[in-house]
């Protein structure tokens, strides 16, 4: 069969997109009701002032911010810390950033993987102090490697009940989620779908890092509502 015949689809592409969007919105409604299953009251309380904001964001239907127009082709510098910027992005707030005249040298994934888990975490937090930078085209190799790590070794470890570095896994989920908000790439949002669907016993192991877990859920909620997949 030739390509032309194979491409003649009885289901138009917009119908496929409609079915996809329907599925994502259904998941958003589910998350709205069930997010408390992911973060126990005790861990939620440990978030301090962040807890009510996260609660209201996940339970409500806040307007969704389109980050694609914020992240352009220029590297951005943030005055705020990585966690503060991540919080602003996750809750659809305002991120204070300055376009930079220079961008850091390319981060080679081979170099990143040579570092210890805590060093990698630090290296990523430093590089993506303005987390929107993960959405830049120059960061595609890093994003691809983070996606691979999530979907191959991290997923396997979580499913097998093996020891994981919850901070690092959640950092990757947050960064991959931010890139998905900017690039609208289905593989990236599906990584978040997959982790959301993991058995509860696997996900409760991520509660040891409640702040990153809560922010990841908020980013996921934004992705599910994005209008144009």
């Amino acid at each position: 069969m030739d390509l032309e015949t194979a491409l003649s689809r009885p289901v138009p592409l917009d119908r496929c997109e409609g079915l996809l969007r329907e599925a994502l919105l259904r998941r958003r409604a589910e998350l709205q009701k069930s997010w408390k299953h992911f973060i126990s009251a005790e861990y939620l309380a440990s978030l301090g002032s962040l807890a009510p904001e996260v609660g209201s964001f996940l339970s409500g239907q806040d307007p969704i911010r389109d980050w694609r127009f914020v992240a352009n082709f220029t590297w951005m510098n943030c005055e705020a810390t990585f966690l503060d910027s991540l919080r602003a992005i996750a809750l659809g707030g305002k991120v204070e950033y300055q376009p930079s005249n220079t961008s850091p040298s390319r981060l080679l994934t081979a170099d990143l993987n040579k570092l210890s888990s805590s060093e990698r975490l630090q290296a990523l937090c430093d590089r993506y102090r303005c987390p929107l930078n993960i959405g830049l085209p120059s960061e595609s190799d890093v994003a691809e490697e983070l996606l691979r790590q999530l979907m191959v070794p991290d997923r396997a470890k979580l499913e097998a009940g093996e020891e994981i570095d919850a901070d690092f896994v959640l950092l990757k989920l947050n960064l991959v989620g931010i890139r998905a908000m900017i690039t609208r790439e289905l593989r990236l949002v599906d990584a978040l779908n997959y982790f959301y669907e993991l058995p509860k016993r696997s996900l409760t192991r991520l509660q040891t890092s409640p702040r990153l877990l809560a922010l990841w859920l908020c980013i996921y909620a934004q992705l599910l509502c994005a209008p144009d997949w």
């Binding site: 069969m1 030739d2 194979a6 689809r9 996809l20 599925a23 691979r148 289905l186 593989r187």
Partner: protein
Amino acid sequence: MRVAIIAGSISGGIRIAKEIENLSGVDLFVVVCNVEKRSPLLRWSREILSALKTFRWQTLATKAFSYARQSRLIILHRPLDDASSIERLRALQCDVGLHAANVIYRESTISVFRLGILNAHIGILPKYRGRCVAEWSVLQGDPTGVTVFFIDSGIDTGARIVLREFFPSEGWRSVPALKNMLFRCDARLYRKALEALMRPGVRFESNDASKGQRYYVMSSLFTKAVNKILAASLMTSG
């Protein structure tokens, strides 16, 4: 041309062998690997179960016996990349291997075959590498099909594509049904690929990894959406 089918079970190997054995100029072997290092009891129980599932177990047993008698059925007890297994494969002096087992190949195994090991990948390369590529193709409105290419130690990155065939996803009501159809094309497409390789001046299409992406296991949310797309296409096509 000396060809070895690298299979995960005797029935899997014989199924492909039946399609290829009458191909002129092909000297065929069936190599059965111990996938997942199963114990002998588990391994042979699975073999028997898999043979019974074919509903033609008598034909299968006769075929297997015939291959064994001619020393063309090789049962590996050690993992495929173990030195003893590689030595047994090397002794066969094969030109081509046909992938039919759920194993990952190391360079040491691939290099035993003069031309390499062919894989019938159920996605269109170079665009769709990795896992669940049939469902990803449907979800993204791309054609589905099978690509036969020579593997390397990467994930669907082997540079030489021998052939590619498109099979429409319409008419299949679910992801498992679609994938089963695509997987079942392997024997026929391996035959076509071997025919192509035996023609003088065979040319390969390049599998340029930069023109595609690696895909991963799909979430149940998206898999359900793909099932709905397939069901909708079934209704549309009548």
